[in-house]
């Protein structure tokens, strides 16, 4: 596996130049994806074609206008609008200032689970594993965290909260353990197993949510009991929804970075990921690394689910994740599996998600557009040659090819 999907530690001297160069492709990828997204917005308006025939100039102008409005709503929905900020600071009212920061808070809120799922998938990549099961692991973690959240009472927050978070990690870790052990013992390809486990997880969650003892009293729809307030992530600023889960995400990124580059276990993960045969020759246990990497990866995804149920929704339903697990794949690819890059990529995608809902209410454009844009970003990021080809960027050194999966064989 070569540098394109994972980068080794780089000596200080060439870090700056490399950083600039390595930003170029992701930035262009996002820009290209947004442009294609704009085209989709325009083309999906059925009246556009009729008006194009009648009055092309006005139709195009209207089309551009609708794209501008849509993306504008996206940006203000994610970051807030300058006007609102100015008014708020001018007024000096703390409540109004907090309200002005609301979009930014939503972005942080949306970015938090993405940091965790991005880390989960990236850790898998570093060990040569493709963990598509982050979505299912997310749900399992959410389920266990919710259970500890409502079943355990009478504890102060500084015990209850870490306990619930740990339960969330454990839930995801178990769901990551299964594909890990299957791959280690039988060679079953983790792509199929994790995808199947995703569907299994959805059914399992549906079942739990109707189970007496878990389901909220008096409700017939699948929703869990409300968790105790002592298990909730405290907000960063009163009045805003953004909470300390984001800080936990930053801490997790640091921890994963330390694990990968400064510990013996991380060394083993990366060696096994690059060249399992040589790792074995050197005495490392591929099976142990596989299982442990999948467990930690699953646990991280479980923490993503935890951050949702303990930070936002306060209870569990079957719709808490609009595909955060799959976004994690995009984020890991964009950041080339490096924890520091994951934070930025998560913020970007979080901004997209946060802005999508206001965009939908303002212009009627469904939030699925964001999914499409994200898919395009992945595509461009995973094939840097594609971006370079489109934009005619020259690369000084010969780049390797981005292969890390080798079909179904054990």
């Amino acid at each position: 596996m070569t540098d394109e999907l994972r980068a080794a530690p780089v000596p200080p001297a060439s870090r700056l130049k490399g950083a600039a160069r390595s930003l170029l492709v992701p930035v262009l990828a996002v820009v290209s994806a947004l442009m294609i997204g704009a085209i989709i917005i325009v083309l999906s308006d059925l009246t556009f074609f009729q008006r194009l025939g009648a009055d092309p100039g006005a139709a195009l102008a209207d089309a551009l206008g609708s794209v501008w409005t849509a993306y504008g709503a996206l940006v203000t929905g994610a970051l807030g609008s300058p006007g609102t900020y100015l008014d708020a600071f001018a007024s000096g009212d703390s409540g109004q200032i907090a309200a002005a920061f609301n979009p930014l808070s939503e972005t942080l809120l949306a970015a938090t689970p993405l940091i965790f799922t991005g880390l989960a998938v990236a850790l898998g990549f570093q060990c040569g594993l493709f963990n598509i099961g982050a979505e299912g692991q997310l749900y399992l973690g959410a389920a266990t965290a919710t259970f500890v959240g409502f079943a355990v009472t009478g504890l102060p927050w500084y015990i209850h909260l870490p306990l619930a978070a740990a339960a969330g990690f454990a839930g995801g870790a178990i769901w990551g353990f299964i594909p890990g052990i299957l791959k280690a013992r039988t060679g079953a390809h983790e792509v199929i197993v994790t995808i199947m486990l995703n569907y299994t997880a959805f059914r399992l969650i549906e079942f739990i949510l109707k189970f007496p003892g878990y389901q909220r009293e008096g409700r017939f729809d699948p929703i869990s009991k409300v968790t105790e307030a002592t298990a909730w992530y405290p907000p960063l600023i009163e009045g805003l929804r953004a909470n300390w889960g984001f800080v936990l995400g930053l801490a997790a990124a640091l921890a994963v970075s330390w694990l990968l580059f400064r510990t013996t276990k991380g060394f083993e993960f990366r060696a096994v990921g690059f060249n399992p045969t040589a790792a074995r020759y050197a005495g490392m246990s591929i099976a142990a690394s596989t299982v442990m990497a999948m467990m930690i990866s699953g646990g991280l995804a479980g923490l993503a689910g935890t951050s949702i149920v303990l930070g936002i929704t306060r209870s569990l339903t079957s719709g808490i994740s609009p595909g955060f697990g799959f976004d994690g794949i995009a984020i890991a690819l964009m950041a080339r599996s490096r924890p520091r890059g994951i934070i930025f990529a998560a913020l970007l995608f979080g901004a997209l998600r946060a802005g999508a809902t206001p965009m939908q209410s303002a212009t009627g454009i469904p939030i699925d557009l964001v999914v499409v844009v994200q898919a395009l970003v992945i595509m461009f990021v995973a094939a840097p040659a594609l971006v370079r080809g489109i934009y005619r960027i020259r690369v000084p050194e010969a780049t390797g090819y981005e292969v890390f999966s080798k079909g179904w064989g054990a």
């Binding site: 070569t2 530690p9 000596p11 400064r262 510990t263 045969t277 074995r280 020759y281 005495g283």
Partner: protein
Amino acid sequence: MRLELRGITKRFPGVIANQDVDLVVEPGEIHALLGENGAGKTTLMNVLYGLYQPDEGEIRIDDRVVTFHDPGQAIAAGIGMVHQHFMLVPVFTVTENVMLGVESVRGPLGQLDRPTARRRIIEISEAHNLKVDPDATVEDLPVGVRQRVEIIKTLYRRSDLLVLDEPTAVLTPQEDEELFEIMRSLKASGTSIVFITHKLNEVLEIADRITVLRRGRVVGTTTPAEATRESLASMMVGRPVELIVEKTPAHPGVPVLEIHGLVVRDDRGHVAVDGLDLQVRAGEIVAIAGVQGNGQTELVDAITGLRHPVAGTIRFGGTAVRMEPRPIFEAGVAHVPEDRLEDGCVPGLTVADNLVLNTYCRAPFSHGIRLDRDAIERSATELVANFDIRTPSVFVDIGDLSGGNQQKVIVAREFSRPVRLLVAAQPTRGLDVGSVEYIHRRIVAKRDEGAAVLFVSTELDEVLALADRIAVMYQGRIVDIVEPARATPQLLGMLMGGSLPLESAAPAGASPAVAGGPAT
């Protein structure tokens, strides 16, 4: 046909593989292309075969200029190539492999006409004494037979010029002779042959003319009458070459490695090591000679803990060790694997990381779970200096280094700690002469420090030069152990092929040899 290459130049990023090469092959001539690894022989033939396009120069067949954009065109022009690594699809039969690309078909849907192809194959096989079973599946065939299939492939396409790329790398000396007979028979029927090799004896025996390449250029063209082994070797390398290794006699001590009755299965479940006994003592170099595929790989795997034996015992210094790579490594065993890139180093990690690939989990490189990066860097800088590894820095990705330097990293890693037993499999395969000499010196130095050395090699020259004792392996057993004084290529060749010469007796003082390898 008369083949002429004029001024062929081929460049790759960072290296000029062929520079202004001229080559003439007359009709019905056996022309040897000689050079050490990396001299550009295979590249030149790939240009001829249409796999590469030359940057400069031209190809002429019978005085007409031709260009080949793909192998199909070269084949159509009458050029056939037998590659060093066989181009046979393992799961196909002989017939399917031979007719691939020029299939006989009938009917509207392009249905395969296997019977017609079969008949032609049998004709060709009988005409040139190339015995094959057309319905056999290639992956079940031994290497010598596969080579015959490759030759039939070219004859099936009516080639006038045959290119053989290192054909004897996988043959015993006796099989070499059979191949040479086939070549003479082909020559008699008018086929020209270009024979790529780095083995001097063969060239003198079979070639009509010899062209020597060095670093992509033609150094000279000569004939066996005018050349000697020494003159050819000098031309190949550019300086007078010592064809023997400097070493003092061995003073073997206590046994370090003792193997009794070892039985190991290969990846497909067949028995590869079949009741093998062997002993290696401290301060001696034991070479395992044999044609590839007789269980050497599985034997090394078993000794290094990568493959669990089905029966038998392996003891290091008299004690039994848990047969996993790490405990064996801790018992003082160093392993230089057969396939550098695949098994010995991790491209993607830095040179420094690779140098601690099996020591990272112990002090001073780590404390508990935490790695000490400064210690790793310091040690790496030292090793790079001591072992003369050419790299811009220890933080470079090891995949960016040349093959020889990668091997040096592996050697540095394995040799830089106290070692009781060194196991090296094909340690110099694919390396240039300078690196080969270097590795040989290091191995002898290790022996003189008191280590026991076991190395596996298919190069008889290397075995004869380096070993204190030669153990010949055939079909999973040691058929005999020979002292270098008594060893000749003919004797070794017969042992490697499974037939014992009439006057062979187990040399006195050697460890018990397994009696009677079956005659083939």
